[in-house]
Symmetry: C2
Subunit: 212 residues, 2 copies
Amino acid sequence: MFSQVVPVESHVHFRPHQFLARENEQPEALFQLQEGWACRYRLLSDGRRQITSLYLPGDYCEPHWLLGKLPTQPVVALTNIRAARMPCRSPSHLPPDRQQQFWKMLGDHIERQSNWLVTLGRKTALERLAHLLVELFERMRHAGLAYGQQCAMPLTQMEIADITGLTPVHVNRTLQTMRAKGLVELQSKWLRIPDLAALRDVAAVTVGESLI
Amino acid sequence: MFSQVVPVESHVHFRPHQFLARENEQPEALFQLQEGWACRYRLLSDGRRQITSLYLPGDYCEPHWLLGKLPTQPVVALTNIRAARMPCRSPSHLPPDRQQQFWKMLGDHIERQSNWLVTLGRKTALERLAHLLVELFERMRHAGLAYGQQCAMPLTQMEIADITGLTPVHVNRTLQTMRAKGLVELQSKWLRIPDLAALRDVAAVTVGESLI
DNA sequence: CGGACTATTGAAGACGTTCAAGGTATGTGG
DNA sequence: CCACATACCTTGAACGTCTTCAATAGTCCG
């Protein structure tokens, strides 16, 4: 699905907590993740942290670097990562079909951010977690990495908290509620969703809203 | 209602609550607001509403329509609006300087959305309102529409609530706290910020973070 | 003047946080 | 293979911020 002709030497590896990009520093390259997860975040002066974007296998990190601004938020590896490096040049240098692809990615990114504004602004803890888990599963499936009703899910509860705007403690309790209701199975870094439609309902997504 | 014998007029007017765009409908054009404010929002099935973007004079509504997707959220006028209409065509049809401008707008839009993810996910009511008022003032000043320490502010407290993810009641109480602390003066649709640096501090924005 | 929207206030309650402790898993080196 | 350290998960109790519901006052505009 994401195959492309990339010379071997343009691959790069990262370990958990390693930076793919830092604030105000020209990124070394645009990365297409082949394996592993990364995130972008902002840290407030008192230690509060909000993760503002998640990068899964197949994703480009980050399309908007091509728009000609320095990154304003750090990007860090959440797991071991293998990625392809691509030059950071203005989209007008790309061939037309790649431009098209680039715009689509950018559109999807804006769309996903808008969805999260709604979730962070208006939804309950249960709805937030449902949104996150549905989105993760559907993105993993789209990348060809879902197996039946399950997929890998390497996030810790603290990272989930920093995505959903909750505390780790409340994430823990809410996940237990979801398990008790049979909405999800989540253990040892694997996620299983017995009834995806039911979980989408809990997530309070509007009809036709794509979470991918 | 009116006869559709409309000249090929590049300007267009809207009244409050009129739609500039509807979900899943090809927008008539890209609008550059000359006067008045608009917003994009999503409505949940139980009536909860989250405003996901705000359009002020000078802003383009909406740059990402050029990316080739139908709008997924309605855009509605908050005040009387006068706007210029521009064709909705792929950015590759634009002259290079206009392309550059288009990418900058898109980058600013993504940046602003990211900032709001942090605010909605992690900030208190006081910090949220401070963020909003600083952003509005700085955007209005950038558009040449600030006069000393003040600018127009046509939003109702209910609209402010739908931007900040709070209830109108709590917005009201928090604004009173801010007035009592001398952080803002806000009355009859005008905003005055006696000490912008102080309000930025309250907003808990990271140093160097642009709210424009 | 009347009607509709907007702002303000009070009281009660819910949802999520905070703090603190204990338990479980995972990996590393001896 | 075990000992140990570290990170992660789980639980309880008390608290606080924000919400909800309801009623009153103010403002705008035909």
